[in-house]
Symmetry: C2
Subunit: 628 residues, 2 copies
């Protein structure tokens, strides 16, 4: 192939043995054809040289500090920087100095509103976790105060939540009976809470917040629906007044437990009567003695006995991540509605610290609750002060009003729980997921079925595993499209998507749409060879295939296996007397192609083009010249 | 914004509430400006409608049958199809009928050559796996015969290999002492071989061959170098004649074991003398009794005792995948050199079946060996017949020549092993990986260090985990580039890569280069907002930012979280009085945008463009019109 190399200096890059600049244009061959004369050919440039260290730094920054939290600090005097750092750690300092009476009015109303929810829900959720009801109230007092100081969301209503309570209860009950060894159970709950807090705060401090992103929306929708059903079924014990109830959580054992002695029942007639009777009987069970008084310190109850250390760490990890996911999602949702920023990693530190403090003051796992935060938002809260109002209301209750709650029947608590969790079953979301994406729907169903039939943790693990597997499969089997020219333009697009696009005779244009790496280089190699074979068998009636164009526009990265693949495919295409041309390699890919060229000049400048159009024009002209 | 919608019918798609066709072009606004008149605007088309079932079918086919193994079958008469199926299962039928004397001459020479390697290596590798030496010879007899019938590679030299032997030995020794309970150890080895074969054949039958792709080149280079060192160190026992040697594999215990009693040694003077003495002493240890005779059946030795079932299954899985990786990689390498096709999944079935048969005929795990296949290839082999020649030579040895090997000193075996494995340390490859890709180098080093300091299996697991984590991170933190116009053209490219590219005033062009999904939608959301903020703070001196263009050319797929992100970012961009425009969504993305539009018309046709150039031209014109 005769090609006049461009005079471009290649930005100081040397190709080792050959001194021809790599980035130079595959310039027009020496001919007077008007078609070629009118052809504008542009060079493929490598990105500006950068040291490994600075690239690593950039990557680390993008991975762990995508929000660049300290960008406001730059160029400020040292004093201001200190003030900003303190404000960063304690967001309360941001809004408290400018706090006004009108803001307080809004916060007072919303705070009282959520307190009216938090008290019965706190009691109910504590029962869901098999903890004494008072723990639920304690957990609605200290953590919201801590959050008000550290948290950056203005709408989050902090307190115990159903999912984390359910998971903690079910995980701890597997090892210890809450009725048999209540003190040990309580110790394990506080210790798990401590670990949950440590996990949450560590994720924030280590800037690993993206880990919770792996709980996709589909996973959460399925998981929450499953959890809601599991929780509701557990309430059958209270609602039906059953005394010998299974301690397992799964659908099958619970239903077996409910219907074990009902074989002889005549459904249609007796059910209603039994229900009423059971209701009345159940209503006599009350939640028991409730002492007035605030949270007692519980650091002496933290238990690091090796027998239970694994259990509490695991429980802490799972409930920590679950409650973090809920809290961050709630925070982001309302921040987006009111158009302010919530710093995810900062929030994790706040929620984590709040749970660490909680575990030392008789609280169990807390976070921002979906339902109460929505109420808080709708009631017009302005700042985290509404949490303080709620906490103070709970405090008053704890100090003076506890006797009122002694006569709360279990059946009421059961009803509260069911009413709260049933809203977690989000049918419209499920339908939308089904319509949008069948694979996501599968993930959703797996999470749901896993929670219902296997266990809460394993259902979640299966759904996350499936989501990650799907992402990996997208890499392992990347999309490749055959492109054609949209008639009357210089635009090349997917032949399948654009009916107006037409094949260019003699040229096969393939676009790869994924990073090329170890997981897909073998696949791409075989798939491209197959495409060439098919092309040869269909095309040879009209024109012979003579060029394969690989459009690399959508290949963001390449590794050593990927480069080995490019070299291999080039060799085997050339063995078939065809030519391989690369179009628009992005920065990183171009850089690696260049490095591969240092040893042997595999990809010379005449097989690198900036656009498919230029490659086609240039190569068609050459084909006409060499094969007249 | 006033825009005349194109008259294009949108291919039968309805937008629910609004009847405006989605795919229609964002056509030229009503104005006589020459700039706009000359503007060619093309519509973004959705892919042709396809049912979920047919899409699923296509995806399953692409995932599990990327090579489309039965494509030759189409349109053939039934008889031919049967013949082709038999030939597919037994590739020997492909080449045996046309086999000639001249081919046999080549195969005879190469077969005898590899036999001369296979016999000492077989004995040595069996010792590496702590198995009786004769097992190594048995394993060089039956499996090559099976492979000759079923395998499709012409160059693979089948037999025991060092890595699989090492791993099997080290895993089984953890549970059972080969000297204490030799029969049990042998039983476990055969059972593990059976499981290895079953795993390998299943991967082939279930078309899951891509699983071995997750062992990247960097992982293998590091792993093999580490394994070579571990194996060589193990030979110190034979070379130094140490009798009380550690059974552990790690660097630290082995070195401790070697140097435990040498504190008083005066290195410089005694070492040489001791070495010689030890050599002479060690040479007296011979490999012991070797009975003449062929493989005995060993199916009665397969042990499915629950005590050891977990161990043998795990050993089978790991050695199976490792030996498969080696065999497939060797097969592909030489197939690519001679330009013929090796069907990966078919090869897995062949190697798997060969090991299943092997486990019943006193053989342990075998595969295509790197070193011997290279010798085979260089000696000029033409077909799998060279394996048959090798097997027959081994058979003759087994029947008549065994007494000759009785006097092989252990030190010779140690030397053979070291000589064989030291070649696995591939310094040039390590250097190349270092130059190409620092992350790959890290994976390589982790595999190496893991094997040396922790254990063979865990070293491998760490390296694979790291590779997968890296791929996930590429998805979690996708590359985004800010694009600019290359002066004098209509080409838009990365500003960082192309110094000739310039920003378009008032327009921010962002290209996303990854599938948009649950793992990155939060990141993208925050990152884009930050980019707009930065753009606003730098640009407002000259021109105000009024449009954000998201180039989706390199987004191959999107899930429900991704669509939610697009809708959310559109809303928050519009809240800032900016306009969001999407450029060139690919088929799947366009389809999902369309589905999202059914409920609410989020992305109307006037915010979808086919190319960045058209979007910029059209929007600049509009900006001039609305803000004169």
């Amino acid at each position: 192939m005769v090609g006049m190399r461009g005079a471009y200096g290649g930005g100081g890059y040397s190709n080792g043995n050959e001194s021809r600049p790599l980035g130079a244009a595959a310039a027009a061959p020496m001919t007077t054809s008007t078609e070629i004369a009118s052809m504008a050919v542009h060079k493929v440039a490598p990105p500006p040289p950068q040291s490994t260290a600075s690239k690593m730094k950039a990557r680390v920054k993008e991975t762990f500090f995508p929000d660049d939290p300290f960008r406001g600090f730059k160029g400020q005097p040292l004093g201001t920087q200190w003030l900003m750092a303190v404000k960063y750690l304690f967001p309360i300092l941001d809004w408290l100095p400018g706090y006004s009476l009108s803001l307080f009015k809004s916060d007072l109303i919303s705070g009282l509103t959520i307190a009216s929810l938090a008290i019965p829900q706190g009691i109910s959720y504590a029962k869901l976790a098999s903890l004494p009801p008072i723990i639920g109230l304690y957990s609605s007092f200290v953590p919201p105060m801590v959050y008000a100081v550290l948290g950056s969301s203005r709408d989050l209503a902090v307190g115990p939540v159903s999912i984390a309570s359910l998971v903690m209860g079910s995980m701890l009950r597997d090892a210890v009976s809450p009725s048999g060894e209540p003190l040990l159970f309580l110790q394990l709950a506080f210790t798990s809470t401590l670990f949950a807090g440590v996990v949450q705060a560590s994720l924030g401090i280590l800037r690993l917040g993206f880990i919770i992103d792996f709980l996709s929306r589909a996973t959460l929708v399925g998981f929450m629906a499953g959890a809601a059903i599991i929780v509701s079924l557990q309430q059958l014990k209270a609602l039906l007044g059953i005394t010998h109830f299974t301690t397992q959580m799964g659908l099958v054992p619970v239903m077996a437990s409910v219907f074990h002695h009902t074989k002889e029942w005549s459904w249609q007639t007796i059910l209603m009567g039994v229900c009423f009777l059971v209701f009345l009987l159940a209503a006599r069970h009350v939640i028991g003695q409730l002492k007035c008084g605030l949270n007692r310190p519980s650091w002496d109850k933290l238990l690091f006995d090796p027998t239970y250390l694994g259990l509490t760490m695991k429980t802490g990890l799972i409930t920590g991540i679950l409650s973090l996911t809920e809290g961050i999602a709630v925070g982001r949702t309302f921040a987006s509605l009111k158009d302010y920023q919530v710093d995810g990693n900062k929030e994790m530190m706040a929620i984590g610290l709040m749970n660490v403090v909680g575990s030392c003051t008789s609280c169990y796992v807390t976070t921002g609750a979906f339902s109460r935060s929505a109420v808080n938002h709708n009631a017009g809260c302005k700042t985290a002060m509404s949490n303080v109002v709620m906490a103070l209301t709970v405090m008053v209750t704890l100090l003076f009003l506890m006797p009122l709650f002694v006569y709360t029947p279990n059946v009421v608590l059961g009803a509260i729980i069911i009413a709260a969790v049933i809203g977690l079953i989000d049918f419209p979301a499920v339908y939308q997921i089904w319509r949008m994406d069948k694979m996501d729907f599968l993930v959703c169903v797996c999470a749901f079925a896993g929670v219902i039939f296997i266990s809460v943790q394993e259902g979640l693990a299966i759904a996350v595993g499936l989501s990650v597997f799907r992402v990996l499969m997208q890499i392992t089997r990347p999309k490749m499209t055959v492109q054609g020219k949209i008639m009357g333009t210089d635009i090349y697009r997917d032949l399948h998507q654009y009916k107006e696009a037409q094949r260019v005779p003699g040229i096969l244009i393939l676009a790869i749409e994924a990073p090329i790496n170890f997981a897909n280089s073998n696949y791409l190699n075989e798939r491209i060879k197959r495409w060439i074979e098919e092309e040869n068998s269909t095309q040879n009636k009209q024109t012979e295939l003579h060029v394969v164009i690989l459009d690399l526009s959508a290949v963001p990265a390449i590794d050593t296996s990927g480069i080995a693949f490019l070299i291999d495919i080039k060799k085997s295409i050339e063995k078939r007397d065809l030519e391989l041309v690369l179009v628009n390699p992005t920065g990183e890919v171009m850089e690696k192609i260049q490095r591969a060229n240092v040893a042997q000049n595999h990809f010379r400048s005449d097989c690198l083009y900036l656009t498919t159009g230029e490659a086609v024009t240039s190569l068609s002209a050459l084909a006409k010249m060499t094969k007249p």
